[in-house]
Symmetry: C2
Subunit: 245 residues, 2 copies
């Protein structure tokens, strides 16, 4: 195998994966950001994406549960707390439920995860399993889509406010908060990968881990697009939007 990348080369290779594969470029997001999704399609997105949100603390606690390095555990635990909050009504999962109510979904229906597309479950569960089973540095590397998330969140906040009547500061609080949380999280994760993936073989595994994660995100939008946009084939048992506009 070739020589190892230095830090700058590895960081550049990681960032290139975002340019080529991050889901900001998915046609479903393009429709969203151009204001061309119906309310039913937006509801389907919020409903399915809730399953991803709900998987995140399980994924992050799984990483902590494997980490012998106390500094890694200390840095990582804020992710769980950010998502779960410290009391009822607090945290990222709660903020996502506020968004769900904002787009006209029933809170308990969303929280039950009934109606979520099977492909969404499979993708999210693959992510949790990846973090439980791969090496720790690969597990950390798979989180580095957060390098690319703030730009997407900024675009999304502006687009939703411009095009959709439900959009408001309370309903979009999830994204505003992630604008603050994600850069703090990713600074640690990126430094961890750059410091721990020392051989070319480990570095290639980390690049593959980030590709895998972009697949996890992309596959969720593919499933949404197929079910709710084109050809619009909703699988048995999945959410049926009541209204289209």
């Amino acid at each position: 195998m070739s020589r190892a990348f230095d830090r700058a080369e590895l960081e550049a290779a990681l960032r290139r994966i975002g340019e080529e594969r991050y889901h900001d470029k998915h046609p479903f997001h393009v429709l969203m950001h151009e204001g061309r999704l119906t309310q039913g399609q937006l509801q389907a997105w919020v409903l399915n994406r809730f399953y991803y949100q709900k998987s995140i603390p399980l994924k992050d606690a799984s990483l902590i549960a494997r980490a012998d390095d106390i500094d890694l555990r200390r840095a990582w635990i804020s992710r769980v707390i950010d998502h779960d909050g410290t009391r009822p009504g607090d945290g990222g999962i709660e903020r996502w439920l506020v968004l769900a109510e904002g787009v006209g979904l029933d809170r308990s229906y969303v929280a039950s995860c009934e109606g979520v597309l099977p492909a969404t479950r499979f993708a999210c569960e693959a992510y949790v399993r990846f973090v439980r089973e791969k090496t720790l540095v690969e597990a950390v590397a798979s989180s580095l889509t957060e390098l690319f998330a703030p730009d997407l969140h900024k675009t999304r906040i502006d687009a939703l406010l411009a095009h959709y009547p439900f959009a408001s500061e309370p309903t979009l609080a999830y994204f505003r908060t992630r604008l603050v949380e994600a850069p703090k999280d990713v600074a640690f994760g990126l430094d961890y990968v750059l410091s721990h993936a020392m051989t070319r073989e480990q570095q290639e595994l980390c690049l593959a881990a980030l590709c895998f994660k972009t697949d996890v995100l992309w596959a969720q939008l593919d499933a949404l697009h197929h079910a709710y946009v084109s050809p619009g084939l909703i699988p048995p048992g999945a959410f049926q939007p009541e209204q289209r506009r």
Copy 2:
């Protein structure tokens, strides 16, 4: 199977397990509390028990990683934070290392876990695996040795201060802190078990989980006793006390 216990009966059955099986009654603890351990024997205990301390956040993060119930995750995460602390120099693991230095052990030797008895590793790893693989309510039930811990910690603090020159408020800070943390933790855990183990079958599994946990604690002291007290057969590779008194 017989009828389900009501809450009071189940709590009484759990507490009976402590009376019969908790490791406060182990001969090694009796020697410790009577001031009859040599410094080398105390060192062996501190060194081996460090492996248990180090396993606790992994065990607790494993439980969080499996918990769909956000209230359970919110309550449980303080255990990880209590043990790991939020910065270098903070947390239960760090306080245990202060104790280790107090009894004359080298901090980095203890932290490396070299010299730990294989039986200690096996017992602690069995505990982590139990929490990862059994039902969630059994995993919670296995934490309920904390019902019995405060009395043991109080006895231990007094005994160590009375009998051993290394004992001081800084070296015993771990135990003082647990006197505050354990009752808060166990109140939640006990209520969870009493509220979630509704069938007699689930209740029997929870009682078995607590028995299992008392076995995990007892087996560690058996291994210490065999290696360092009687017959004093230290296995290959394990810690060799330099001084006996």
